[in-house]
């Protein structure tokens, strides 16, 4: 076992884990934290991806385009919250239906506007040599991006006054309102924050994963599983769950085949849920 072989396996598994973390973070906020089953999560990622695509074609550099994508998706999420979600808090099955309908509508709108094939952004052809192997520099950037996103979300939700108000509104809406927090507005902002994270994910991933109307489907199932496995300590739990499951699946895929990697992902999910019915973070004494 030479060092470069171990290094490349570790790095490419870390990349897969990071991709999953980036895609899951928005859902962790909306489903894990707020309890809203957002089946349109994949379509919000797609929204961000197309947003970044349009921005780069309009001449913006990639980094600006990604930020633009996140903001635009967040704005759209705020609109969705105002029009649809706010009437359905606490009504799980109804939010399921509503967001499912939204996902279908968004998907078909994308097909109508963009068609089934659109010129993509393309990854920068910069690679880093690791001994005899090489890995795309953009994937290393994604690893860093995942860590930054996690840290930023944690800090926003725990260290800012908005974060405290957001968590209070979710935990006990009536008491929060009694204390003087505008729960309606805060919930809109939190939902927008979650969809903004999804849009950011779309923008970050679009160079590597071609923008197609159905691109969200590849991420949605695994994101939901990661959030369910995560448990009550949503953010840290989701990071650990997505990270571990993504890493394990990728390492298996490296040695066996990608199909085995997928199988291991789902088998691991089943085993973890069997061992920790309320999620892996059930007994953790962390804040978020």
């Amino acid at each position: 076992m030479q060092w470069d072989y171990l290094a490349i396996v570790a790095l490419s598994s870390l990349t897969s884990a990071s991709v999953l973390i980036i895609a899951t973070l928005g859902l962790a906020v909306i489903f894990g934290l707020m309890g809203v089953i957002n089946l349109a999560h994949g379509e919000f990622i797609m929204f961000g991806a197309y947003g970044a695509l349009i921005a780069t074609r309009a001449g913006m550099p990639l980094v600006v385009a990604i930020v633009f994508a996140a903001l635009v998706t967040g704005l759209f999420g705020a609109v969705v919250e105002r029009l649809v979600i706010r009437y359905l808090y606490g009504r799980l099955l109804d939010t399921l239906l509503a967001t499912w309908g939204l996902s279908l509508a968004l998907y078909q709108t994308a097909v109508l506007i963009f068609g089934s094939t659109t010129p993509g952004v393309g990854m920068p052809i910069v690679s880093v040599a690791i001994g005899r192997y090489s890995i795309s520099a953009y994937f290393l950037f994604l690893i860093a991006a995942a860590l930054v996103m996690l840290a930023a979300t944690y800090l926003i939700l725990t260290r800012t006054s908005y974060g405290i108000m957001a968590r209070a509104s979710i935990q006990d809406r009536d008491t929060a309102a009694a204390v003087g927090i505008e729960t309606g507005r805060i919930n809109t902002i939190t939902f927008a924050f979650g969809t903004g994270l999804a849009g950011l994910a779309g923008g970050l991933l679009v160079p590597a994963f071609p923008a197609t109307p159905g691109m969200g489907i590849a991420f949605v199932a695994k994101a939901f599983l990661a959030v369910v496995v995560a448990g009550p300590v949503t953010l840290t739990g989701a990071a650990v769950a997505a990270g571990t499951l993504g890493w394990a699946a990728s390492a298996t895929a490296s040695y066996l085949s990608t199909v085995m990697g997928d199988i291991i992902f789902f088998v691991a999910t089943i085993l973890l849920l069997r061992a920790f019915p309320n999620g892996i973070s059930d007994r953790w004494r962390l804040k978020l």
Binding site: Y5, I8, V9, S12, S13, T15, S16, V19, Y107, Q108, V111, G115, S116, T117, T118, P119, G120, V121, G122, M123, P124, I125, V126, S127, R132, Y133, S134, I135, S136, A137, Y138, F139, P207, A208, F209, P210, A211, T212, G214, M215, I217, A218, F219, S250, A253, S254, S257, T258, V259, G261, D262
Partner: protein, 408 residues
Amino acid sequence: MTVLLWARRQLASLCVAAGVLVALPAFSADDTIKIGSLHDLTGGLNIYGIQQAQGLKLGVADINGKGGVLGKQIEVVEYDTQSDLPKYTQYANTLLLKDKAVAVFGGLTSASREAVRPMMHRAKVPYFYSSLYEGGVCDRYNFIAGASASQQLGVLLDWAAENYGKKFYIMAPDYNFGTISATWIHKYAKEMGGEVVGEDFLPLSASDFSPTIRKIQQSQPDVVVALPVGASQTGFLEQFAAAGLKDKIGIVSTNYGSGNQQVVVSPDAGEGIIASQEYFHWIDEPKNEEFKKTWQAAYGDKEPIISEAADAWNAVHLWAMAVEKAGTTDAEAVIDALESGLSFEGPNGTVAYQPGSHHLKQNIYIVRGNREHGFDVVQVFKAVAPTYEDEVCDLTKDKTVSKQFVPE
């Protein structure tokens, strides 16, 4: 009491009226000929399905404009199978039982074809499959309009060996098209003294190709034979290029471009990828310009025309020719007519049904991806016969066989 009596009488007359209305169509003459269309208009496979359906409808419009078939207009009954396999069997049943289609055109993945083919065989309805595939199907009621692996891969791998080297790595989707194509690649590699140094089969939904790329780097091939199917697998080409592998390792494919993947892939990643198929938008054939004009008048010129669309056009024209020759839409007569050596001038030159195998003898083109999201034609192989299918399948002698042959 009188109210009830009144209501009952109204109900009775309503029933009579309804009965008459339902029976009316049976009295009126059936002046259209119904054919069925089963294509993926939504879902990850719609990068193929939308144009397949469009190619079929354009062909039908062309035939109807010239007077239709047997003096009647052709009507296309279209169903969207949504890239979802169970929908294929469901809508195939609908076409056979409710719409009573006299011919069915459809299917993209080999899985969908194999789901529908036995149903068409049992119902004795001609079924046309308009897509390239892994080859070997032998069924009286199935006519293939796309190229088979023996037509594409042999030619492509010879070219790859000459230009890149004889060590191959296979990246294929994990279902019958991918696995059987891989069997072919093993066979051809061995015949030419080459070697398959590794292979990876990926689910259609796979989007993260880091493990595959790492394995490719480890096995150090001269060329990767990539067979990406669907929108998600197109990401492989982008990620492969971004890992800096394109300078050392070539990429050849039998289905890159068949779903306009070169439009999605960036110029850096798409440049230099070699593909082989039975039709490309950029080929120089007598009827291609006219075909492109007709297409663009109907559907605009937003995207290039893919091989499956031309296959669908060819398929419906050949079917119409057979119906005219047979003088009836009766399945057996039409099939006998199709087996009598019919040929048609399509946008990709002359295509002719081999009587025994129900496959087309047609041109195969080798193209190279360029920086304008398109292809440049590199080499043309004229009138390539489906040698494997002609060898293992002779439906003029054995009319009952219904299977797919796979090389050992």
